[in-house]
Symmetry: C2
Subunit: 540 residues, 2 copies
Amino acid sequence: MTENHLTSLPEWTQLAVEAGRMKLPENHLKHLIRHNNRLEKFSVTGCGLFYDFSRQRLDAGSLRSLINLANARKISLRFRQMMAGEQVNTTEKRAALHTATRSFSKDPIFENGTDVMPDIRRIRDEIGKFSADIHSAKIRGSCGKSFKDVVVIGIGGSYLGTEFAATALQGSADKGIRLHFLSNVDIDNFGAIVDYIEPETTLWVVISKSYTTAETLANTNQVLQFMADKGLDAKNHIVTVTSKGSPGDNTANPVLKSFHMFDFIGGRYSVTSAVGGVPLSLYLGYDRFEEFLKGAEEIDIHANTAPANKNIPLIAALISVWNNNFLGYPAQGLIPYSHALSKLPAHIQQLSMESNGKSVTQKSETVDFPCGSIIFGEPGTNAQHSFFQLAHQGRPFPIEFIGVVNPCHQKYSGQSKGVTNHQELWANLMAQPQALATGKDDSNPSKFFPGNRPSSTLLINDLSPKNVGRLLAFYEAKTLFEAFIWDINPFDQYGVELGKTMAEDIRSEIAGKNKNPDYQFDNRDLIRKFYLEVLFNQKI
Amino acid sequence: MTENHLTSLPEWTQLAVEAGRMKLPENHLKHLIRHNNRLEKFSVTGCGLFYDFSRQRLDAGSLRSLINLANARKISLRFRQMMAGEQVNTTEKRAALHTATRSFSKDPIFENGTDVMPDIRRIRDEIGKFSADIHSAKIRGSCGKSFKDVVVIGIGGSYLGTEFAATALQGSADKGIRLHFLSNVDIDNFGAIVDYIEPETTLWVVISKSYTTAETLANTNQVLQFMADKGLDAKNHIVTVTSKGSPGDNTANPVLKSFHMFDFIGGRYSVTSAVGGVPLSLYLGYDRFEEFLKGAEEIDIHANTAPANKNIPLIAALISVWNNNFLGYPAQGLIPYSHALSKLPAHIQQLSMESNGKSVTQKSETVDFPCGSIIFGEPGTNAQHSFFQLAHQGRPFPIEFIGVVNPCHQKYSGQSKGVTNHQELWANLMAQPQALATGKDDSNPSKFFPGNRPSSTLLINDLSPKNVGRLLAFYEAKTLFEAFIWDINPFDQYGVELGKTMAEDIRSEIAGKNKNPDYQFDNRDLIRKFYLEVLFNQKI
């Protein structure tokens, strides 16, 4: 173990002591929240965000110790190095410059000696022009009709963040474009979409950095066949978002337009690149996409420059580490009290679990503490009527609540029980953290609530593009600060490789049998052989 | 502690010994799966289901001990008592007779001395007749147009199971009806739906047992106002599913039709009652709903009569208990390799976490073991590109995979890399459990896979109504068997009450301020006061 091994640091040891203290009965949340100025001392605000961690199980001492840990790990320096284009993705020997995609500064950002900003600005311009041409019907489908449906073909990081942002911004989608996502290789995903759209007025946006992703290629092939069957010229209905020179950016496979992706931006961090830029600009208009970028940029600057005790994503990351490593919670709920944010948990699930579900440090040591949380969630109040029974009386887990001060649909202001729907929603958003924290005594054990269940509440003013961009960048920075504390690489994902390799092996068996009905399946793995036979017999 | 306290049973102690043994290196899954006839010995089949638990971390000895535990806890007897109408919901002093809603036997089922079957049959007939009249346009909207959109207004158990079943059965929805769910009190849920539907051709199905659920009433009030604003007579556009004599079944509030719910069926078990029956019959036709019921009935009979070692939901429940209590996994992934099953995880999340996220036994003792798991999931292959990094290399959690042998959209049979989309999906469904179980050595620590990560695979032949009914009842029975082992009450949900009470209190503050702008918020809880001020100032 190296000398700056995390669990050997005095700051870590101190935190273990603090955690022991916080577990004492007198530090139950029901007592902590009554302390003077609790909310003022345990909340941070800025860049349109308000982050309340007054219902987390910490006090001034434990918060100070967490900040000491952040300083000992130099996580602010690491964030700065990342934004400056250093090779922070050490295993893959790359920079991680998603922050550059939303930089509107005139300053250059060098990656390996080259300023990346001219290319980034060029692609933004291309997206702006292309989406305007689609909206003005200057570019039309092969029958001369203007486009009405846009289908993103992409999986994982090629759609989850975009789906979150598009759903959050549905109130701003006034361009007459409906947006769909064809992600799963399951033919029933394809079938459900083509049952819905009109092929003549549909634009397909194929997103794959390498243009070798099995699911995306299989779906694209289905689309080519489908469009040909309808007598349509597919090349006038497809755009690609891919690496320069990939098979998707090749004149041998002509398409309407190719937009470039870069090696230095990973899928789960790519929403503000062309990956999100093309579909979101088509759905919302480029101007709104740019506002979204500017919201994200604002948080990047804040994360990069605010002192630790005022730094919102940094504080949120420290609380994750605290709950994960010191209070022993393996999972975290993410509950937006906004139906338009219903796709946020699925995006953060990928962002966080794929980034930080690791077992090896940057120094190739196996980690000796749990790292990465299970993230799950549904919108409130729905979640209250689903799994909150367990949150209140069963196995405890910390929750991040999100509140939106102003809803989109203000005009429906009718009241029930003296309050509007939005006020009813907020009554619940206020009640849940309080109930989780305080609990309730009851002589009937079925009605006893232990309380002491931690939560944070994050507020934004509304679902403007700027605020949605801020929310996105907040979670990105939070995820990265966690990784920097743990000293793991949040940019690689080697854990997905073994399954892919095994699937390739099985695929060749299937392809062998497709080609030659006499093909004999490998006899060495009898479980696998059983499933192959079920697949070909088409019954259990 | 009573003498038959769970953790004092010799069967429990024996399982702890077995678990210790299973943690030895020689019992790593990579070795276990190579044993002779592993799949034959560790799989069960019947009623159209195939359940493979060969990749669970157990051997013949631990399986036998689990079955001994099931016998010691008399869980089969409890299931039989439940189906026979005994008062198994002890805290609320009610029967739990969801199984009666899908009984097609001629035998009576007595609840408190009364045969419940005549009422159940009558309601099925009413649903059949009503949905046929909608489909034939015998019943039309107030402008004389036939209905095209059906919006369910309900939250929690009033929609999650129906949403799962409707999504799974979308391939059978040929009645020209689109189905939507208005669940969240967030006005943006309402706004998004009314932006989409045509009010003249929309039927609203309001579902609430008590007809006092705050969210459902608030949304229903919005609908009444909205329909009135459009000059439509709401009473010709609304049906209710509610308890006999509730405010939703009252001639003072006239509606097209009221369908009755019973006290002895809880929300999360109500899909096969009128709660699911009305929307699913409108969406699919009553005949298909009846096939769905018959699939569920088949599993009920199997769960009730099959011997423990052949009983599919019972074995699945034992594996949950094993993973939860003996191997120490706090969460479980549920990954259907079928896009049409994308809403299954959200339904099972409620079913399982609300039923079994408890801390008190039926004897009012506080449980001294973890009970209830965190359930989360997304469809495969999507999940592979999202959070499977953590599954393979981070914090381990058991996974239940689901495979569908035949997809709905068979006609799109184009191939990529020599295989169809469906075969590509299955190559991955086969590869993932294998990769999780075996792992892979690698001198590069970033590419090392520890393996030994348990999973089950459940197969069904296709997404017919019968199979979807079987799937539903399988998870219900599995959940109940877990509860019977733990001796907790899976039918109550007192854990949701405290939040509701606190929300009511906050609601009166908001209503007070709405009525009188000079109203002063309660000063005793400053955190709450802060949020109330943000809400009324409409900004952070």
